[in-house]
Amino acid sequence: MPKPEEYSERKTQLAGWAVNIVTYRLGTTYHTTIDNTNPGAWVVKAQGATKAEAESKAITEAEALLEKVKKSKPPTGCTSVPGF
């Protein structure tokens, strides 16, 4: 059975939000998860043939999502993230 290898974890800011980026390799594929553990975790995941590719995909998707999050005052409409 495969084991996760090259596990790495780092904290950074994306679109003004503190996030945690976790990447590991399983077999020949790198898996990246970006979560935001303070407001409550959300998940963006991506895979790639290299660590850089997996993280780049995940970061792009995460930034696009986070930029849409409204820090708002009510009434706010139906959702905090347009499109959901």
Partner: protein, 286 residues
């Protein structure tokens, strides 16, 4: 069966197991390991060998009305999972065991005797480089008989309204500070939300994540007691925990009820998506 726990956490015995312990009991016939994730696709990407996967949004709730899993469906799920009334169930998942704690809470509601969390959850298992598989385990179905729901573990709206109005119980809001203040309605990326932001009047803000270490494990009993005690949550009065849909508050419920041993702790699974959508409900915003 010996349960491995932190030496400093005597009361954790019986409800927490370490990743080491799980690795040593992967093929133990008296144990069923189950993964429950926020991200319901995570299990299929690779999971603890011999673990089953439950989807919180289809298998651990009533899929018609908003409610926990009905008793008959719960019995069916347990039976199909090869879990008997005497099986030791080990739950783990992503996001520091959010929905694993949600599952544990429901197993306790229906009276399952021996259910435990894998301390650190999926994150710690992966960080430690332990084996993952995509193979589903072979399961021999059983017949399971659940108890009637124990609603001493669950708070419904009228009780929460009374707790807020009369301070009949201590309310703990385990969401993020931004949700508590009303700055945001839900964590980024999560769809379940509400019409108004803020918190239930009288609720104390103690975000769920403060109970965890960086590696996803729970803090020591001493640290947890200090954390909640500093907000006046000492177990002397009844406590009701809430969040947005009830999963993060299951995590805090687990901490207060099972790690700190507080007697009267309830999870308000209606949480902010119920309260924040009520017409004319009082809302506190700092």
């Amino acid at each position: 069966m010996t349960v491995q726990t932190s030496p400093a956490a005597a009361t954790q015995q019986g409800v927490l197991v370490s990743t080491d312990w799980v690795a040593q009991h992967l093929t133990d016939a008296s144990i069923r390991i189950v993964e429950v994730d926020v991200d319901t696709k995570a299990y299929a990407e690779g999971h603890v060998p011999n673990a089953l996967g439950w989807a919180w949004d289809t298998q651990l709730c009533d899929t018609v009305r908003r409610d926990i899993i009905p008793k008959a469906k719960f019995e069916q799920l347990m039976g199909q999972s090869g879990i008997s009334n005497t099986t030791t169930v080990i739950l783990y998942g992503d996001n520091n065991n959010w929905f694993a704690a949600w599952a544990l809470w429901q197993l306790k509601v229906y009276g399952h005797k021996d259910v435990r969390l894998m301390n650190g959850g999926r994150k710690k298992w992966i960080a430690e480089g332990r084996e993952l598989t995509t193979d589903a385990p072979k399961v021999s179905p059983t017949s399971y008989k659940a108890s009637e729901p124990d609603n001493s573990l669950r708070a419904f709206l009228p009780e929460v309204m009374k707790a807020s109005a009369e301070r009949a119980a201590q309310l703990v809001d385990v969401r993020s500070p931004q949700e508590y203040s009303g700055e945001i309605l839900a964590p980024p990326g999560l769809p379940e939300t509400c019409q108004r932001g803020g918190h239930i009047p009288g609720a104390k803000s103690i975000p769920w994540g403060k109970a965890c270490n960086e590696d996803g494990t729970f803090k020591s009993v001493e640290e947890l007691r200090a954390l909640y005690g500093s907000a006046g949550i000492t177990g002397e009065k009844p406590v009701i925990a809430y969040c947005r849909i009830g999963e993060r508050s299951s995590h805090t419920w687990f901490v207060l009820k099972h790690l700190l041993g507080y007697q009267h702790v309830k999870n308000y699974d209606g949480s902010w998506t119920e309260w924040g959508n009520l017409v004319a409900a009082p809302v506190e915003k700092p």
